[in-house]
Symmetry: C2
Subunit: 441 residues, 2 copies
Amino acid sequence: MKTMETKTKIIQNPPRSRWSELLKRPAMDSEYLDQAVEDIFFAVKRKGDQALKDFTRSFDGVEPGELEVPSSLLADAEQRISPALRDAIQVAATNIRTFHLAQEFRSVEVETSPGVVCWQKAVPIQRVGLYIPGGSAPLFSSVLMLAIPAQIAGCSEIVVCTPPGKDGRVNPAILYAARLAGVTRVFTVGGAQAIAAMAFGTESIPAVNKIFGPGNQFVTAAKQAVQKLGVAIDLPAGPSEVLVMADETANPRFVASDLLSQAEHGPDSQVILVTTQRKLAEQTLEAMEEQLQLLPRKDTIRESLASCRLIVMDSVDDMVEMVNGYAPEHLIISMENSRRVSEDIVNAGSVFLGNYTPESAGDYASGTNHTLPTNGFARAYSGVNLDSFLKKITFQEITPRGLQGLGETLQQMATSENLEAHNLAVSVRLDALDKENPNGN
Amino acid sequence: MKTMETKTKIIQNPPRSRWSELLKRPAMDSEYLDQAVEDIFFAVKRKGDQALKDFTRSFDGVEPGELEVPSSLLADAEQRISPALRDAIQVAATNIRTFHLAQEFRSVEVETSPGVVCWQKAVPIQRVGLYIPGGSAPLFSSVLMLAIPAQIAGCSEIVVCTPPGKDGRVNPAILYAARLAGVTRVFTVGGAQAIAAMAFGTESIPAVNKIFGPGNQFVTAAKQAVQKLGVAIDLPAGPSEVLVMADETANPRFVASDLLSQAEHGPDSQVILVTTQRKLAEQTLEAMEEQLQLLPRKDTIRESLASCRLIVMDSVDDMVEMVNGYAPEHLIISMENSRRVSEDIVNAGSVFLGNYTPESAGDYASGTNHTLPTNGFARAYSGVNLDSFLKKITFQEITPRGLQGLGETLQQMATSENLEAHNLAVSVRLDALDKENPNGN
């Protein structure tokens, strides 16, 4: 009965041949969005701010005011949120700052051959744009997650675009987080038009070098489109996911709450339990039913749980292999040897160890970033981190003696690749050195 | 007269308003390629190896043999190249290895709040695919530049795809470099079909998680297309570029050879000199004419030099600003205070300092990577480096006391974002801890 209500099924020891079908994500088809995004890009390119205001009127259904949020509103945002929320944002900001500061890059200078010195230098990306979605809730936590590392990196311009609320304004919690995290300018504009504005620039909004942040399918399609125009993006985006690995030491009520908290993100959220214990799976299912009654977003959660899978496996090694194959965005390991098991994880966005590390902690305030690779992208992508706001330039400096030592290698390789001007660039220099010092001393 | 031959012009002190027009790159239009790439993808997905062989027959004009190069051919490649080339490849490999080894990631574990521990772990991307173009020359240097960091990172599968030469085979210099650098498998297939094979997998070729390497416009369009399928790529690609900054201490013959060596890459190569000295620009132009006579690729070079710009500027500060605006792939600084000037460079792929550091050195053997951001992408992208073959997973582990300390922050934030299940995931745990220890000790 209860199983029917959420449509969640327990699957016992699926054969390896069924794994990929079992863990299949919904296919994303952005093609039908591409034309819409192209039209929006065309309008923003041609009409700039006016296009943004027109789209705000038609898409957000509010009368647009000034695009830029005046600095006075940023300055007094603190007064317009509760002291409890202000304190919470401050704690989160401190932890996020601490963890991302620890990621600072230390340049190493290396003499690869005598007289040949090479090094890397990390340089902030100058102008970054952060997209913060609107919708049912003000995602001030995403402001912290994106702006704090940008500020640590030293980006000179940190722009936020976010859609207006129903009152036409930006929520003060977003403004407070922006101010606390060093955002330089905030604009009230959302959707694909905001991405276009940050890519092309308008009268009000500066063009940026890289665009970050989550968003709906139009925003995602727009971010994909700007890549072709030379603007970098943080990550390709898909629906959010959690996979929980659990053994007999896990608490089914905790596991249930973690699955539900992922499910409440949206009807397409992916929610998976892989456990060694059939009994734990059953108890988790019961606890989910109970807890569901307490939650306001019941309908969203039920819809999401229709694709929830609770998988029982005999072997921990198989569990690990299955998890690495799936490459979850969030991975919770509630097992006796969580740390030990985590050492074998090679594909995941962010990992939560033990019974007292809910995903909520990483979503908000443990210090790790919550902008993570979904949709299996964890196989090749890191989540957002300090590096996401830096690029590394390489340098090399060669002394005359260094070039004399390396010259023959360079010439041999250039000639073998039929690049004779590359060879010449070495030989003109070696000839000049020979003339300066014909005895080779 | 000589100026006319290469069509290169000297531009004196252009006003700031003209800079962007002056440094405009040719627009890339990949749209007409997209359909061709889509057709190729469809065929490879449906017919696998057979499609690859059909394309080899029609595009490369050779009768396809086995797709995979047998390991015996890899093993004896050393015997089929000259000892001088073998030695040169070894020197280059050693320097590249030394520099990329120095980039190894050191994980830091941070306690962000009492009982809240976070860390990053660098994990190799498991399967990587390296595309090595064919054409007029065997680009074995690109094999070294891509496979050596992949090997250092610890990627478990390093696949190379490269088109057959006119004899239907892969050049032994490529095979030798591949073997030396730890490539696991080499396949004789080129073009967009090779990118499709590495993205989807075929009977012979394994699907990979990330694809690296240069290529023609079809390869570039194919790499852009696989990103939408969840396969990562190294960098968006465009024509190669060099910008030389020079003052009175530069040698016009050296500068000329650097400009020519960039020009020989192809007719769309971008070649720019920015100097404080009108006389140096004139002497460089003369030296280019002279050196051009010595070079086999005269026609390519002349075509490329049609868009070459020699710019004379009075102010070094303006030069730096112009260079940062352009964001060159390669930047040579031949100035009295090259290091000092280089400290102000914020947008460039790789920088070459002084009179004895030709771009050829970085192309082959100084140790830095030659896979670099073109087309202004240096504003937001690093060149390929060790990090390109790793992803960083974040971890967090919170003690019961840690969660009790952070709990209120998490709950406050979750509630303010209307995510009550996120709140619940914390409260079920805090309630359990209260029950265990009702006095809070």
